[in-house]
């Protein structure tokens, strides 16, 4: 394998070094009254860790000047180059694309060459990229694979997203009326949240303002989403999509691809000195019909968070998590999902930074968005986030979702490693 030789095997890591790091960390984040650092090693995990050893994100664009093969190639190659690995080191490739979004049947059959999957154990997850990471993780945990590339994305400039969202509806009762689509579902969800908890549209617009401002500090954000001087009035006064949702509250689909490399614990430590650990994962799907669901809450995210925190041994998410990257299709989903995770309540906003990258509003290349959330968390932990870096991040969470009003949610817990 083309790896950097680690100075020592992990078993013989000096404990003194391990202890030194949290102390330095506490100094850096003195203001935040959160006991952290050493906590990660004290947590009682119920799942083996998987290492993220490389990642790459193709800068999202409303009209990417690449075809999807080139974009897939750029993403996978970028991740391999970043980790100083070669294609021959890969044992498996998992992609996340969708036949409808790509406008073709079997969307993975022509990407074999471009994504480096030639004569590799290859498969495709037809869900958000975060679920492909889940499957990649399972492949690593099985012991069958030593290095798994997970890539995903789509080209919204090539397909009418709102039409394909209509094709995801119940074909018997809903498609024929053409009333339900991603916009109207978002409208129902926002109205439901506002009415249930007495939240004003301004409160939700504030989230959009924050994400647009955060995007302006993120060099890999969609250019159209970057707006330092955005105001509440501008968000509320932008074109209405489906009342009360306005244009600037919507994470508009764009073009983009991303890739993450996963490796088992021992292998990850050989490849890089600073792997990011996936310590926990949870995912769940709730029922489909909007009328049967409480749209002001997210049952599936509640279940996913419970499962992920149990796996990672997190008992108090508000204290133990340093940053959250949440896939919000609309600004209000950030609130609903962070409530479900237990980071905030409708009456009290989260004290933990959410979506410092700008979230999905900073670039929603469908099927890459969840992958990008994981990449952003990895960057925060590795201190690579530049303009939008949060100080002293050790534990981060990233989410992905599929379906109307986030019907299926997935949540990852990521931790920094003890540096050698």
């Amino acid at each position: 394998m083309g790896k950097k030789k680690s100075s020592k095997p992990p078993a013989t890591k000096p404990t003194a070094k391990r202890a030194a790091k949290p102390a330095a960390k506490e100094a850096a984040t003195e203001k935040r009254t959160r006991p952290q650092g050493g906590q990660a090693s004290k947590r009682e995990r119920t799942m083996e860790r998987v290492g993220i050893v490389g990642y790459y994100q193709v800068k999202p664009s409303m009209d990417l000047q690449m075809d999807r093969y080139e974009a897939a190639f750029t993403a996978v190659r970028g991740a391999l180059d970043g980790a100083k690995l070669k294609r021959k080191d890969l044992t498996s490739v998992v992609s996340a694309t969708n036949d409808f979004y790509d406008g073709r049947t079997i969307s993975n059959c022509f990407t074999v060459e471009a994504s480096g999957s030639y004569l590799k154990d290859e498969t495709k997850v037809e869900m958000d990229g975060a679920y492909a990471v889940l499957y990649g993780m399972m492949r690593v945990l099985s012991g069958n694979h030593k290095l798994v590339a997970v890539w995903g994305g789509s080209m919204a400039s090539c397909f009418p997203y709102e039409v394909t969202s209509l094709l995801s509806t119940d074909p018997t009762f809903e498609r024929s009326t053409e009333l339900l689509n991603v916009m109207t579902a978002g409208g129902f969800q926002m109205r439901s949240y506002m009415n249930r908890f007495g939240v004003s549209a301004e409160e939700i617009a504030k989230v959009a303002v924050k994400n647009h401002q955060n995007a302006s500090r993120n060099e890999l954000a969609l250019a159209e989403s970057q707006d330092e001087s955005i105001t509440l009035d501008k968000v509320l006064g932008s074109d209405p999509l489906s009342s009360p949702v306005t244009d600037l509250m919507y994470a508009r689909p764009c073009d983009g691809m991303a890739c993450i490399l996963l490796a088992p614990e021992q292998q990850a430590l050989k490849i890089t000195d600073h792997p990011i650990w996936i310590a926990g994962v949870g995912y769940s799907q709730e029922n489909y019909y909007l009328g049967e669901r409480d749209l002001s809450k997210s049952r599936s995210m509640e279940d996913a968070a419970k499962m992920a925190f149990k796996a990672a041994g997190i008992t108090d998410p508000k204290k133990e998590i340093d940053v959250a990257e949440i896939f919000e299709h609309f600004a209000h989903e950030e609130l609903i999902l962070s409530n479900a995770i237990g980071l905030s309540e409708p009456s009290s906003p989260s004290s933990i930074p959410i979506n410092p990258s700008g979230g999905a509003i900073s670039g929603n290349a469908l099927f890459a968005t969840g992958l990008v959330r994981l990449i952003e968390c990895a960057k925060q932990i590795n201190n690579e986030a530049k303009g939008h870096q949060i100080d002293g991040v050790h534990t981060a969470i990233a989410s992905g979702q599929v379906g109307f009003c986030a019907q299926n949610n997935i949540l990852f817990v990521l931790e920094g490693g003890e540096k050698q």
Binding site: T46, M47, E48, D67, N98, D99, F100, D102, G103, R104, T105, I106, N108, C109, F110, V112, E113, L119, D121, E122, T123, K124, V125, E126, M127, Y131, L134, Y135, M137, M138, R139, L141, S142, G143, N144, T164, L167, S168, T169, P171, T172, P264, Q266, V281, Y283, S284, Q285, E286, N287, Y288, R299, D303, M307, K310, A311, V402, G403, F404, Q407, N408
Partner: protein, 418 residues
Amino acid sequence: MTGRQVAIAGAGFCEHASKRSDVNMAEMVHEAVENCLKNANCDISSIDAFVNGNMPGFEGVNLPELWMTDWMGARNKPLLRVTTGGTTGGSIGIAGYYNVTAGIPGIDTVLVVGFEHQSCGDTSVGLASVAYAETSIWTKLGLSMDKMTRIFGAGAAIGISSYQAINYMKRSGATEEDLARVVVQNRHNAAKNWYTHLKMPNLTIEEILETPFISYPFRYGMVTPASDGACAVIFTTEEKAKDFTDIPVYVNGVASVSNESAILGYSGSGACQLDPCEQIGAVESAKLAYSQAGISFPEKEIDYAEVYSPLPTQELQWLERLGLFEENTAHLRYRDGTTAPNGELPVNCSGGVNSTNSIGASGLERIAEAALQIMGKAGNQVPRTVHTAIGHSWGGVINLVTLMVMSDQQKRKWKGVA
């Protein structure tokens, strides 16, 4: 880091037919799920997680797993959707295996569901768009309409498979009678299996050779039907499998090695740059899966094979590429009866894809049928005991392959034997 031993605890099907107009997609899936739970003597509360897959373009419903949540019983449970075209069934089976073996807390028993309701949509349109999506690029390059129409033919399975078949027949010396013989065996087997589509207990080679050509060497009587149907399989841990069944079927090897898509031909003409019956992907998949399962002599150690063969030459070709017969000899084994249910290596006793083809379920049905043969519960059970079996599928532009090796013995015991 090693994964947990995985076992198949049960499998179920719904009735397959050309048009299941009595049910919609979700209801059809429900039938298979119910049957599977009955087969494993359990109810839906035993299931911890779900894997779902089909060929979305064929029915025109994007992400149908969202809509059919309640029909699968997946409400408030983890669900993963995997789709890879023709290999979808095989891929979701493999995903079911990985779900269990990974040991993610809370996930022990996984229900895998594959289905296709082809009568809802137009399969030919779906297949044409395998190649169609490239046309925007090709028109930019100035490709003529004449060539374009040929691309649609190449994109559909029958186009590319004809090239493959001619190559194979040239190599092996198999004749048209040999192809018809494969079909006859499959349709006779299908007649003894309750859920299959084309049941033809009295079909003869002569009858097939009288039907008109679709695309040389394939005649109308030789090709796979388009079926509506669904299949469900339960994967669980070694420990829990004993609660479901007396004979758990252990999954000892999985692989899905992809070959390059250039098999289709870069010019889009369908004329291949590579020999399309060479199938390095299948050869490599076999190597990988057999090594995981500790199988050194597949031709001796494997007792039963379910291969994915919508067209008869493919059945011959896959048996060779997967190491069960020597190269260019498969058609001779059909002549001497080796592959019949009472033969030395029974193949596709379920009737195979040649008799029943609901795309997204077909690959999973191969796994399910192989597992049921080991359990002794198959619809067309072979007379002697099956210890080790394989379930295979192919798809994409004949560049994707999946393979699963199953046995009545656990993997670690296997390693000692090998």
